[in-house]
Amino acid sequence: MTTITLRLSDLVIMAPECILLLGVVVLTLADLWMKSSRTSIGIGALVVLCGALAAAVVQLVQETDATVLFGAYEADAFSSLCKIVLLLAACGVLGIAIGTPNETHAVGEMYTLYIPALMGAMLLVSSREWMTTYVALELLTISTIVLIGMRRAAIGKEAAMKLIVLGGVSSAFLLYGISFLYGCTGTTYYEVMASRLDMGQDASLITIAFVMIVASIAVKIALVPFHAWALDVGAGAVVPVAAFLSVVSKLAAIILLWRVCVDVLFPHAADVVVDVLFVLVCVSLVVAHVLALRQVTLLRLFAVSGIAHAALLLVPLIASGTRPDVDAWTIWLYYAVAYVLMNVGAFAAISLTHTTGTQPHVHQFAGLVYRAPWTAVAIVCIVLSLAGLPVSAGFFGKLFILLDALSQREGTAGIVLAALIVVGTVISFAYYFRIVRQMFWRPEGPVPPSSVRTRWFAQTVLWGSALGSVALGCAPGWLMELLAQLIAHTVVS
């Protein structure tokens, strides 16, 4: 029997999460105490995030590669990179949140609650054990539910209710699948489980368990046909929460799927799982794009388009077949960064033009170019990236993904995937450019010109994302090279 010990050095390895934990405690107390301006709490949360970001960067630079808690938590370059991406995204979301008028019952919680949710996401990235995974996942989900439900309008609660029920069911499925795997192996650690699984004996059972796990994670990612909640929940949340859902939660779930597939599923049933994912991705690509065509409610639109991007993010995983190589990881990370940039930017744009008390609608962009020409230009950059047009991060992301898909997966499957991606891209022009049309071709709508306030945080987020997108579009090689170098040894080993 080994005793569970948690040394200080272990805490250092978990530094980003620890900082977040500490931060959330301090901020909650401060919120109780001060009851002062809500913005200061928000800024405090931002500082906490920056601290965690710094910690993650330091870990990355130091090439920390260690496990704690008997391997339940692993900090390596890839997870550090993922955490950095998530943290950056969360910073953006917080920036949007600070720039958005309060529509919730809460005062400080609307900032502090992001932190535990983010913590869940980060733990998910590092987790190598099912219990940890489950707890992290639920931490993420429940915090998000609270964030959604805090909205004053009833639709917020409705959305929260839907997420609770469907999220609960999906968790149940996940756990049910896990329980069978546990039953076959007697362990909850990924690696041990992978080594103990015996496909000869309980093939069907294990396969069913695998499918359940994949499907329940697909619910979190909102792949078709498990996507329907995402539309309603996205539309029911306030803008920053919707951004969080669409960026951080989704990315975390995708990373989880990636991890689980690589560590547990692929060694035993790569072909089956890849087939399942292939079907899901194909269906998602088609349905999401077509579905988005008619959406004019912005949050709903971005919830749907997020599905398509998520499907795209899974392509490198599918393409690799058995064990993703460095390319797949790098490309995935590149597109994840692009995804964060463009989606956070898009939500910042929504928040900036949004009139409090209404559902964000495409019409809110009407005539923006007359009111705020430079904002309009930034939004155009974001839209270009979303639609995958040059010169933007999204363009190269798509290019890399397609290159990878076609070079890794020869034959029809690769071509089908590629064809679906490009067809989807065309359809996406139609709905993304609706925003552009509104901005440039419509006269100013009912929104008074003053509604674009100088919300510096949201503005900064918008500009940061827009410039980041363009910069990545101009010099994509730089980031690719960097990412490849950073994760090379992690993946190869």
């Binding site: 029920v165 069907s204 396969t207 498990f226 329907a228 077509v290 579905l291 065509l293």
Partner: protein, 630 residues
């Protein structure tokens, strides 16, 4: 000075005139027309020098060094070639061009776009000279089209008149149809030629050496002739030529009588080797020429418009030339060219005289004209000379050239010469009719005063002299000899017959068409034009036949057989494109949006529905996996 070697100066002078005149524009309308006329006069004199020198030296000169284009590995060299035929044509073109410009100084005096007119004429002269001098069929084609352009521009010169617009359009399109044939002919030739050369000398050699297969030669010959048909108004592509009379009369004289319309004959002559190598092509040329000659003459007989009579006469004469060329001998070539030469002279004379009448009386309907003799005695004389020359009266130039034609046709066969004699009789008849109607009788228009107009008079005089003098037998024979070997000799009986036919034609026409003498006081009571029922001598069945023969038949056929069906077809196609094709291509997008709408509608917002979807999703995945496993 070596005039032959510097023959390029001739078109260049005209081009220069064109450039300068068009650049200066209306600002220089006081002097640019005069300048342009002087330049063209210089060009004409230069051309004469070229001709004379060429005549004396009896040599041809070719310069083709200017690489215009490189097709494949073969450079297309442009340049100019002076030989007897081209030198002769050069003189005709520049001479008549200069005279017409001189004439136009007066004729167009009050026109607002006078300078444009002169610029166009200069451009035309330049293009025509370029055409004539071309050593290369491609170059020839380029100038061929350019003269067509000038013709189009000048027919539509009075562009505010709808009739002029339609005439211009028709002229362009019908000649264009011919040109396309010519173009295809060039493709065929290009591919058939051993080194892809379109130089005339190479074509000559290739055909002579029999390098090109027989059927290809026939094809090329026919296609070349098709081009010539368009330009030279051969049936059925001739209908543009009468309509082209909407243009100013000097233009009708220059382009639509003397020079451009003769380009078809020139083309056939220039590529005569190709035709000689194919008897089929020759036969077709002869048949179409004969048909055109007869139809044109008949149509001229029934026209009311003075200029249209002349236009149909041109059609008829060109048909005669073509028919002669179809005989396929060296003599035929010479005869046709001689007739081309004399025809240019007297037809230009006739047009200019007619123009003088129109300019003075402002009327060109011969039923409304009469007694112009009293106002314009000199013009009457000039017209008479022209008409007699055209009819083929004995001392005049037309007689000699026609005799040559008859001789050649006789060699070809009795049917041809008979046809030609018929045409000759008809020619005499319609010219007599026109002359009697216009110049004899009583003048109906009042307040008609003819001023003494030197710019108009000089060309008339010069051309009248030409129409008489060219036919001076020794000179004429030498001319023929210069053009080539084998000047035809006409048997005496044929000369007699042809003269008899002409005299008979004149007599019949003079008997039937009496000059109309009207007492001025009765005319004064009926000033309105519509009450004057034109009195036709060809009445009853004759009138009906006349109206059919007026060859408006062709217009009817074109309108109902080609234009209208094509318009309907094109409208139908356009409609189809706007509806069906658009629906098929853009329908994909619409369908996608529709599917999106349906899919979006399916998201009813209810937990249970979403849950059931997810459940079915899992079930489906499980089935899929298990199926895969099995």
């Amino acid at each position: 000075m070596d005039f032959v070697a510097s023959a390029w100066m001739v078109p260049m002078l005209s081009l220069l005139a064109f450039g300068v005149v068009i650049m200066i524009g209306e600002r220089g309308k006081a002097w640019t027309p005069i300048g342009s006329t002087i330049v063209s006069g210089v060009a004409a004199i230069f051309a004469c020098c070229v001709w004379v020198q060429q005549w004396q030296e009896r040599s041809s000169y070719t310069w083709a060094e200017w690489r215009w284009l490189t097709m494949g590995d073969w450079p297309v060299q442009f340049g100019y070639e002076v030989q007897s035929l081209t030198a002769c044509m050069l003189v005709i073109v520049t001479m008549i061009g200069a005279l017409v410009q001189l004439y136009a100084l007066s004729y167009m005096r009050d026109d607002g776009r006078k300078t444009t007119f002169f610029a166009y004429i200069s451009l035309f002269t330049c293009s025509m000279c370029g055409l004539v001098l071309s050593p290369n069929l491609l170059q020839l084609f380029i100038f061929w089209e350019l003269v067509g352009l000038c013709s189009f521009l000048l027919i539509g010169f009075w562009f505010t008149k709808p009739a002029a617009r339609e005439a211009a359009r028709k002229a362009f399109l019908l000649t264009r149809i011919g040109d396309v044939g010519l173009l295809i002919g060039l493709f065929v030739l290009y591919h058939a030629m051993p080194n892809n050369s379109l130089a005339l000398i190479d074509v000559h050699n290739a055909v002579q050496n029999g390098v090109i297969p027989e059927h290809t030669v026939t094809l090329v010959a026919l296609l070349l002739f098709f081009g010539a048909m368009g330009k030279s108004g051969q049936v059925p592509l001739h209908t543009w030529l009468p309509d082209a009379m909407e243009g100013p009369t000097p233009i009708s004289a220059l382009i639509h009588a003397a020079t451009m319309v003769a380009a078809g004959v020139f083309l056939v002559s220039r590529t005569y080797d190709v035709f000689l190598a194919s008897s089929t092509a020759l036969l077709i040329v002869a048949i179409i020429g004969a048909v055109t000659a007869v139809l044109g003459a008949v149509a001229a007989l029934v026209q009311r418009d003075l200029k249209r009579i002349l236009a149909y006469s041109t059609v008829s004469q060109l048909g005669l030339m073509m028919c002669t060329l179809g005989m396929g001998t060296q003599a035929a070539l010479i005869a046709a060219l001689l007739h081309l030469l004399t025809h240019a002279c007297f037809k230009a004379l006739l047009f200019l005289a007619a123009g003088r009448v129109i300019h003075t009386v402002h009327q060109q309907d011969i039923e409304e004209l009469g007694g112009v003799r009293n106002v314009l005695p000199w013009t009457t004389g000039a017209f008479a000379i022209g008409a007699l020359a055209l009819a083929g009266m004995v001392p005049l130039s037309g007689f000699w050239s026609k005799e040559a034609l008859f001789a050649v046709l006789l060699q070809g066969g009795a049917v041809w010469v008979t046809t030609a004699l018929c045409v000759s009789a008809l020619t005499a008849m319609y010219m007599t009719r026109a002359f009697v109607r216009v110049f004899l009788g009583t003048l109906r228009q009042k307040n008609v005063r003819a001023s003494r107009d030197i710019p108009m008079g000089v060309p008339l005089g010069a051309l009248a002299v030409g129409a008489i003098a060219i036919g001076w037998p020794p000179m004429f024979a030498r001319l023929g000899a210069q053009l080539g070997e084998g000047y035809p000799h006409t048997p005496a009986w044929l000369v007699a017959t042809s003269l008899g036919v002409v005299v008979m034609g004149i007599a019949v026409a003079a008997y039937v068409v009496r000059p109309r003498v009207i007492v001025a006081s009765t005319r004064a009571r009926q000033p309105s034009r519509k009450k004057v029922v034109p009195q036709r001598r060809f009445s009853g069945t004759g009138a009906r036949v006349a109206s059919i023969l007026r060859v408006a038949v062709w217009d009817w056929v074109y309108r109902n057989g080609v234009v209208r069906p094509f318009q309907a077809f094109s409208r139908g196609m356009a409609q189809l494109d706007q509806t069906l094709v658009r629906a098929c291509t853009e329908g994909i997008g619409t369908c996608t949006v529709l599917i999106g709408k349906l899919a979006s509608r399916a998201h009813v917002g209810q937990l249970h529905v979403y849950g059931i979807w997810s459940l079915w999703g899992i079930v489906a995945l499980l089935c899929f996996v298990l199926w895969k496993k099995v």
